[in-house]
């Protein structure tokens, strides 16, 4: 099936634009960037048709990458139904966002650089999704992290952008540290990193009711997932990541990369299901993140920050889904979220583009009459994220909440309340943006077709994506639990969605001003979190680095060793160079002396063999 073609197309795009982009006209850069991703998407579709119905896993082995002792790691790609969903989401949404970006980045400098990074991101993301062993997954995992860093810091002349890039990279290192420890432990325990072998041998292990090796592995994997997927306690980088261009926020920090943690956890379901403790931790962390981010989202005035916190919150939902054992519901929500969150971000980008860079909601308002298409598509996304019936978000969020109800009712209640909050703050942003009087000074205009066309496609997907029955499709991998619940449980999330929108309407359109008092009370929360981080992690780390790592290890041991070797070499050389007298006869004398010594040595050592 030539699976390798799927990631290689974007990689070629990256090479062409990265190496020659400076000298190429924009049309050609667009052709390479968008064309490569489109080809990749088409190849995915063709492959999936050829492989359907994909009952069993399809694996392709290319070559052995590392062979050392019992460690054998191959470059293997595989496709099963989970991968199929991820591939379609990544390449499908990725293509739309590439098209959009061609319009959005039109006036920006570094056009080719932007697209080469974006293509490189697609390459690594596809490697991550296609990987058939943990190490290859880790390669993709680190690669997307690198691209995320590069693209957050895309406006590298701005201090805040480079700072945000560094923050994202460093926070992710904490998570990756956990992930790599997990990989080491997996190898120690199972003697292999190949998914099939690890999961097959994990299946025969007993469930761990108390903490054991599987629980340790799962918790370390979770540390990795919290870093990449912005969960408590490592979520702080994602809101700052909005310093990057908006298409990047949509593609990397909403639709694809940040869901890698959910994907990885779902992929490792065979490990997680054997460790109830780890599952519960996943669910609780997800729920806490969902609630917390939603509360912070209420107070934000930057339109992208609002959506960033809602991303964190929705990722929390996915983790709840995974944690309560509804893996397929988590992946379903991942997919629908990719549709409506990409749409929200792209729509926000269209608004920002139309207002010449204005991001503050307080300087928007009444934009509906200026940009009708953007507004309508954004409303579609808003309906989906609020969980209004028959939209995509409703279908997936409902599945998660129902599974949560059977796992532990309190998770359901908190989750449902958060659904109301979600509806409220997203619609708060939309109302502030499109209703009321215009409060800014720019001249708003509608975006070009190359930008609103992807919005329209995503709007259709946001509304109708719920009818793609992902859980049913994933049934062979993640069995469904057919259970019934009270009608109240089923319909309450819908009511919360409507309620949230209605409340937002009252607060921000009908009776503006109610919300201000409430807002001021809560805005300290995010700052508080950053301050706790500063005191607990950043300061001690800087102190430790200065005293021990810099002065002790770096200056003392490492520099000492390097400089010492240099100084000794100079000293010995200063003596030895005296041999080089320039007199040929003295050289000859040394040669004779040397050969005599060799002969004597041979004489002492015995006969020559």
């Amino acid at each position: 099936m030539n699976l390798w073609l799927i990631p290689i197309f974007p990689f070629l795009g990256f090479l062409l634009n990265g190496l020659f982009g400076r000298r190429l006209p924009k049309a050609l850069i667009n052709t390479f960037a968008i064309g490569s991703v489109t080809l990749s998407f088409l190849w995915v579709v063709k492959t999936l048709f050829a492989l359907s119905p994909l009952e069993t896993k399809y694996i392709e082995h290319y070559f052995t990458w590392i062979q050392s002792g019992s460690l054998n790691i191959g470059v293997d790609f595989s496709v099963d139904r989970l991968t199929a969903v991820m591939l379609l989401v990544v390449t499908g949404v990725g293509t739309l966002i590439h098209i959009y970006a061609a319009g959005y980045m039109d006036h920006e400098g570094g056009y080719y650089r932007f697209f080469s990074y974006l293509n490189l991101f697609m390459f690594f993301m596809l490697v991550l999704v296609l990987a058939q062993n943990f190490l290859l997954l880790f390669v993709g995992w680190e690669g997307v992290g690198l691209c995320s860093y590069l693209l957050i810091g895309f406006y590298f002349l701005e201090q805040f952008a480079t700072n945000a890039g560094n923050k994202a990279f460093i926070v992710n290192r904490v998570g990756d540290f956990g992930f790599s420890l997990a990989i080491f432990l997996i190898f120690r325990q199972f003697g292999s990193l190949d998914f099939s072998r690890v999961f097959d041998s994990a299946k025969s292990m007993p469930n761990e009711t108390s903490a054991g090796i599987l629980t340790t592995i799962c918790l370390l994997l979770l540390v990795g997932a919290t870093g990449k997927s912005a969960q408590i306690p490592l979520f702080v980088w994602l809101p700052d990541a909005m310093a990057g261009p908006t298409p990047v926020s949509a593609l990397i920090h909403a639709a694809t990369m940040v869901t890698a943690g959910v994907y990885m956890t779902t992929r490792s379901a065979a490990l997680f299901t054997h460790s109830p403790i780890a599952m519960e931790t996943v669910a609780v962390i997800g729920l806490a993140t969902a609630v917390f981010a939603a509360i912070i989202g209420l107070t934000q005035n930057d339109i992208k920050k609002v959506f960033a916190y809602s991303t964190v919150s929705q990722l929390g939902y996915m983790f709840v889904g995974v944690g309560v054992g509804a893996f397929s519901a988590g992946i379903f929500h991942l997919m629908t979220h990719a549709f409506f969150k990409a749409l929200l971000f792209l729509g926000a980008g269209a608004v920002i583009h139309g207002l010449h860079g204005e991001q503050d909601l307080r300087h928007m308002g009444g934009l509906f009459k200026y940009m009708k298409i953007t507004a309508i598509t954004l409303f579609c996304a808003g309906l989906a994220i609020a969980g209004i019936p028959f939209t995509s978000g409703a279908a997936s969020k409902d599945l998660i909440l129902e599974a949560a109800y059977h796992y532990a009712p309190w998770i359901y209640w908190v989750g449902t309340l958060t659904a109301g909050l979600t509806a409220f703050y997203v619609w708060r942003a939309l109302f502030l943006c499109f209703f009321g009087e215009y409060r800014g000074h720019a001249h708003p205009h509608e975006s070009p077709a190359v930008m609103w066309a992807p919005l329209a496609v995503l709007a259709v997907l946001s509304l109708g994506g719920g009818f793609i029955n992902v859980p049913n499709f994933l049934e062979p991998l993640y069995p469904l639990h057919e259970e019934t619940e009270p009608a109240l449980v089923r319909y309450l999330p819908f009511a919360m969605g409507f309620g949230g929108i209605a409340l937002a309407y009252v607060c921000y359109v009908a009776r503006p001003g109610i919300a201000d008092a409430f807002t001021n009370a809560l805005s300290g929360l995010y700052k508080l979190f950053d301050q706790i981080y500063d005191a607990v992690i950043v300061r001690p780390l800087i102190g430790l680095s200065r005293a021990v790592l810099w002065k002790g290890v770096d200056a003392g041991v490492i520099d000492g060793t390097v400089n010492g070797i240099g100084a000794r070499s100079r000293g010995i050389g200063a003596i030895l160079r005296l041999l080089q007298s320039g007199y040929i006869r003295s050289y000859a004398a040394w040669v004779v002396l040397g050969s005599v010594l060799v002969l004597i040595a041979i004489g002492f050592a015995g006969e020559v063999r």
């Binding site: 080089q580 320039g582 007199y583 040929i584 006869r585 000859a588």
Partner: protein
């Protein structure tokens, strides 16, 4: 073969020639003489090769000595060219005067 010269005599001769070569190389200052001393050493070695080859009835030593001769010829060509150039530039053949390549 009754009155054949014993192998040890050849080897002693070879050792004497080699020693003369070494001494010449170390004690003589004229570069031409040094060069001849090198040739002397090479031929001393050739002599022992041939002697062994004859005594052991094996052809290897002959082949080796041919190699040595070929290398010596090549070396003589290069060496004499160098000597000529040195003489043109320095107007001397005393090797102790040509000692600028040093620490």
């Amino acid at each position: 073969m009754q009155n054949a010269v014993p192998l040890s005599w050849y080897l002693i001769l070879s050792a004497i020639l080699f020693g003369l070569g070494v001494a010449g190389f170390i004690y003589r200052r004229n570069i031409i003489t040094v060069f001849m001393s090198i040739e002397l050493m090479l031929n001393a070695v050739n002599l022992s090769f041939i002697a062994f080859s004859y005594a052991l009835k094996r052809v290897d030593g002959h082949i080796f000595s041919f190699f040595v001769m070929v290398v010596a010829a090549a070396e003589a060509a290069v060496g004499l060219a160098i000597i000529l150039t040195v003489f043109k530039n320095r107007e001397t053949l005393m090797i102790d005067d040509v000692s600028s390549m040093k620490y």
